[in-house]
């Protein structure tokens, strides 16, 4: 088991290097250091001297991949790519183009993201499982049919409409929660209610349908029929067997997204002005602060890989037949 995990982690390195190269090439082709300097120095009265100074300070005046003038190993190390990418592997994100410490920013902005995504995930699971189980229980009846149609209808509405609608009705008309913003500590709750609710409603359609399918599959299995034949009541079968066994694929499906909860949701965060990592990324994109974007890409990849490893492990935990090798 441990050796397997170690192997997976070792396997992650080439992937992360690949990610790094792709993002690096993309961003440096897009944005020359000159562009970055101009972006950061503002728009009024910028001269060339200021730009070269800015580049020099940040090490952007170095060659991109290969330093012809340097000595020996420094030919590779004394380049923009090496200086900017290798440090990522020890989670030293360096400073953003605007001069802030990215690592510190990430550690600060992680919490608001989690304050939205974690309740969203838990409440979402509860709600979707309840709905899915209800529909599965009433399979074939009008409850099921109308429920499924409702799900398809809800799936067909763009998430943007849920956000706009929620903010408009609950925040503006009914004065139930603040329209947007965030606060620390206990005060954060009133700000998180609406984003969580919107995320929840937006996901009902697809998730409920998916969970219903899982439960239906479970109900079609032999042991359920056996249990019923033995005289167990429908509800008992449902709760004790179908629900418990259906949870396995659901929870292992959840494990893969667990790490990405840190990243938060790009759209929801920027609509509700939540200072999490999602809005951090969006801001960085629009401000073209590529030091941040690259760090976030890297972080996203790391979390994705952790998610994959966790999924594998969780499979072995819930199903002893699966062996890791």
């Amino acid at each position: 088991m441990i050796s397997y995990i170690l192997r997976r982690i070792a396997y992650a390195f080439p992937i992360l290097i690949g990610v790094n190269i792709i993002t690096f090439v993309l961003f440096f082709v897009v944005n020359t250091p000159d562009d970055m300097a101009r972006m950061q120095l503002g728009m009024k009265r910028v001269d060339d001297a200021a730009i070269s100074k800015w580049k020099e300070e940040r090490g952007y005046d170095k060659p991109i991949l290969w330093n012809q003038d340097a000595e020996a190993i420094e030919k590779i190390t004394d380049t923009i790519f090496f200086q900017n990418s290798v440090k990522l592997f020890i989670f030293d994100f360096g400073r953003s183009d605007s001069g802030r410490d990215i690592g510190y920013d990430i550690s600060q902005r992680m919490w608001p993201s989690l304050a939205i995504t974690v309740p969203g995930l838990i409440l979402g699971l509860l709600a979707y499982i309840t709905f899915g189980l209800t529909l599965a229980f009433f399979r074939g009846s009008y409850v099921d049919v109308s429920g499924v149609i409702l799900c398809v209808v809800m799936m067909s509405i763009s998430g943007l409409f849920y956000i706009i609608g929620g903010q408009y009705l609950i925040g503006k008309f009914f004065h139930l929660v603040p329209i947007s913003g965030y606060d620390t500590g206990f005060n954060a709750i009133k700000f998180t209610v609406l984003p969580v609710l919107v995320g929840l409603v937006g996901g009902i359609g697809s998730s409920t349908r998916w969970y219903r399918t899982i439960f239906l599959e479970e109900m079609g299995k032999d042991y359920v029929r056996t249990a019923k034949a033995k005289g167990l009541s429908e509800t008992r079968v449902l709760y004790h067997h179908v629900l418990m066994n259906g949870l396995i694929p659901i929870l292992t499906g959840v494990v893969v997204i667990l790490p990405s909860l840190f990243i938060g949701s790009l759209i929801v965060e920027s609509f509700f002005a939540i200072p999490g990592l999602g809005s951090y990324t969006i801001d960085a994109i629009s401000a073209q602060d590529f030091a941040i974007v690259r760090s976030m890409v890297f972080l996203g990849s790391v979390l994705y890989i952790i998610g994959l490893i966790l999924t594998d492990i969780s499979y072995t935990l819930v199903d002893p037949r699966v062996r890791l090798n």
Partner: protein
């Protein structure tokens, strides 16, 4: 069969107390009191003397020597104090002393060192001297950089990464100190403009004027190259001939040539004092890695200090306990006495204890929160304009009934800025001084109906420009004599845009009948480059195309990102572009220099993005630049404006009118577009605010009840059939 009604009756008691339960849970969430639920601030803050505002994007620089943008001045203006400021109430804008004891006067000297008259020929002027004396005994805000131990040694001037381990923000330092403001601090700041590690946007400009600054900058960068250690250069060790300390409260600035506009710069934060202790403190090793820099944590003598710096969420200014106090102005312009803005005359400022600025990237939530009373003041975005403002029969803007019922007040002011559409004069088709191109540009000037633009996109909040100079700045002539005769004609009592027929006739003369080349018959295609901006851009693009289509010209809009746009402007590959300019100071020079030949973007990377060059204009510019406001200057300006109108390198566009709203409890509001230290004049009445907020934000219950009822209705049949199934399976 079971009777459905019976079943409903059986279940309702069980569900009976569910709504109350939910209410309790929700109440728990929001803190169990009766104040509004949607209050984005802690409820205990309601009664405090706090001012609430928002900021749309995080400030990039808070170092006064490198900051050059309005959203940074919102904070910097309250913290740093340059020698001069603009009078809060008087118009036209007037400079008055801030930390200086009086307005400095320029003294001119010829090469021999003899004093000259003020109106002497600029060519004779060899040196210009400004002697500035500052008020004694002004104190800096409490700051760790000044903290000393009992023996008088600086506590935090020997930091290293180990000592900084538990420090993440400036507030993590335990001890603070202060010190008196010295003339040397001003000189130190001027020296910092030349510092190789500091990017001052006006360094290039000032190096042209301030004596020795250019050489000083070169000297410093030599030193910096050799010095690889900390990056701190003790600027006190060096002499700068152009900025000298006379005594503790007096310093002298020397310029190489006549530059009457220089005095305006003295009111901007580029010339705010900078204590060397702070510079040293922030340059210690490890501080930059912790984000504790001068660019991030200002230290000033002003009425406020930045106590919380979290640009992801909010910025908090707190009253500076060491502030000397300043009296509210006791005179203003005509009408100020009646409007009640002089009520606080002579009282000690600032009035507010704390100012909280929250990040609001989206305009709609910000607007709605203003309406709910959670921001004290707000601008009006185009889309919420009709809700707030209507025009009466005379065409004057007034508030809608909805706003008036809430006690909201409206302030308007023509801004000292210009939104224009520039033609790249270096372009083959649209640029150049040929008859063809000039006529083409003038035809377009008539066709692009800025009156319509203002009414659609700015809700009438703008004044069509007749030339480069906005109203309120010397050189602008209102009324009939001031109209641009190439585009407008005077009819009755107002300027009316010339008809599209005239534009078409011009186009025929230019050789493009109906927008088609008279030789080839091909349709004229022009390109407009624009940095794509947000959701509103499509509408304005469509509108622009419509305008050019009136002449049969096909306008191609090349939307691109800001970097790309800048690059195109820099290389001169753009054809038509839209841009704006915000006055640095109220002087026509600040607008004409945007069209001065030697400032051309492609040749000199200056601010003349249209790359306009006209020898006559350039000569007049040099003449006008060093004149003081006088009828003679007006004559020169008139000549310059006429040249520009004839050549039409810009569509003059319009000067936006700023509208701002504020609540009843927000006092002493008067728009001042030059001053940026206006927070100290503001007064808040928190009690009135709390009452209004409570009245406006009563939670509305029925939707929750409705949702619950709907859920029950949806679930009922399910419950019924569930019951049935249960019984079936038992059978």
């Amino acid at each position: 069969m079971t009777n459905p009604i019976k079943i409903i009756n059986r279940y309702i008691p069980r569900l009976g107390n569910f709504p109350q339960l939910l209410v309790c849970v929700l109440l728990l969430c929001t803190g169990c009191d009766y104040s509004p639920w949607n209050n984005p601030y802690p409820n205990e803050d309601s009664a405090k003397n706090i001012y609430y505002d928002s900021f749309p994007e995080r400030p990039k620089h808070l170092d006064p020597v490198s900051s050059y943008s309005a959203n940074e001045y919102v904070f910097l203006g309250q913290i740093y104090e340059p020698p001069l400021q603009y009078h809060f109430l008087k118009r036209p804008y007037q400079l008055i002393p801030l930390t200086a004891t009086e307005l400095p006067r320029a003294r001119y000297f010829n090469k021999a060192g003899q004093p000259l008259e003020e109106d002497s020929d600029p060519a004779d002027v060899y040196r210009v001297k400004y002697t500035i004396s500052i008020k004694p005994a002004l104190l800096y805000q409490p700051h760790p950089a000044f903290a000393k131990n009992a023996s008088g040694k600086y506590l935090y001037h020997d930091l290293d990464p180990q000592k900084l381990e538990n420090i993440h923000a400036l507030s993590d330092f335990d001890t603070v100190g202060t010190r008196k403001l010295l003339a040397n601090d001003y000189v130190y700041q001027i020296k910092r403009m030349a510092h190789p590690r500091v990017h001052s946007p006006i360094a290039g400009l000032m190096r042209k004027y301030i004596l020795g600054l250019d050489e000083f900058a070169k000297e410093l960068s030599e030193i910096e190259k050799d010095d690889t250690t900390s990056g701190y250069i003790d600027l006190n060790r060096f002499e700068l001939p152009g900025a000298r300390v006379v005594d503790d409260t007096t310093f002298e600035i020397t310029l190489k040539q006549k530059y009457p506009q220089f005095i305006y710069w003295l009111s901007m934060s580029f010339f705010a004092p900078m204590p060397w202790e702070a510079d040293y403190f922030y340059s210690q090793e490890g501080m930059t890695d912790k984000n504790i820099t001068l660019d991030w944590y200002p230290v000033g003598t002003g009425p406020f200090m930045l106590s919380e710096n979290n640009p992801n969420r909010r910025m908090v200014l707190k009253r500076n306990p060491n502030f000397r106090g300043e009296a509210y102005p006791s005179e203003g312009e005509a009408g100020d006495l009646e409007s009640g803005i002089l009520e606080d005359a002579g009282k000690n400022m600032p009035f507010i204890d704390t100012a909280i600025y929250s990040l609001e990237k989206e305009s709609i939530p910000a607007w709605n929160k203003f309406l709910q009373g959670y921001y004290d003041t707000s601008g009006i975005v185009s889309d919420s304009f009709d809700q707030a403002v209507q025009f009466n029969t005379q065409g004057d803007a007034e508030l809608t009934d909805e706003m008036r019922e809430k006690g909201i007040n409206l302030q308007t002011a023509v801004t000292t800025s210009s939104y224009y559409m520039g033609f790249n004069m270096a372009d083959e088709v649209i640029g150049g001084n040929s008859e063809r191109a000039t006529l083409l540009r003038r035809a377009i000037s008539i066709a692009v109906d800025y009156e319509e633009y203002i009414s659609i996109f700015a809700n009438g909040r703008g004044e069509p420009a007749q030339g480069p100079i906005p109203p309120g700045i010397f050189g602008n002539i209102p009324g009939e004599p001031g109209i641009n005769p190439y585009v407008y004609e005077w009819q009755g009592d107002k300027a009316v845009r010339r008809s599209i027929e005239e534009a078409k006739a011009l186009l025929v003369q230019a050789g493009y009948p109906n927008g088609r080349n008279k030789n080839t018959g091909k349709q004229l295609v022009l390109n407009l480059d624009s940095p794509a901006a947000g959701p509103g851009s499509k509408a304005s693009f469509d509108w622009l195309r419509k305008q050019y289509a009136k002449l049969g010209i096909n306008l191609v809009i090349r939307a691109t990102d800001y970097n790309r746009f800048q690059e195109k402007i820099r290389k001169g590959t753009a054809q038509i572009f839209q841009w704006g300019w915000n006055a640095d100071y109220p002087d026509p020079e600040n607008f004409f220099f945007l069209l001065y030949g030697p400032n051309a973007k492609i040749d000199h990377n200056g601010e003349n993005a249209a790359n306009y060059k006209n020898a006559e204009f350039d000569e007049l510019f040099n003449q006008m630049k060093s004149m003081s406001n006088s009828p003679q200057r007006q004559d020169v300006i008139n000549k310059m404006v006429e040249i520009l109108r004839h050549d039409a390198p810009w569509l003059w566009g319009f000067h936006p009118v700023g509208f701002s709203l504020h609540h009843e409890w927000y006092k002493n509001a008067k728009p001042n577009l030059m001053a940026n230290n206006t927070l100290k004049y503001k007064r808040i009445e928190p009690r009135l605010r709390t009452e209004n907020r409570t009245a406006w934000n009563q939670p509305i219950w029925w939707p929750i009840a409705l949702v619950i009822i709907l859920l029950i209705i949806m679930l009922l049949p399910a419950i019924i059939s569930y019951r049935r199934k249960e019984t079936e399976s038992i059978l």
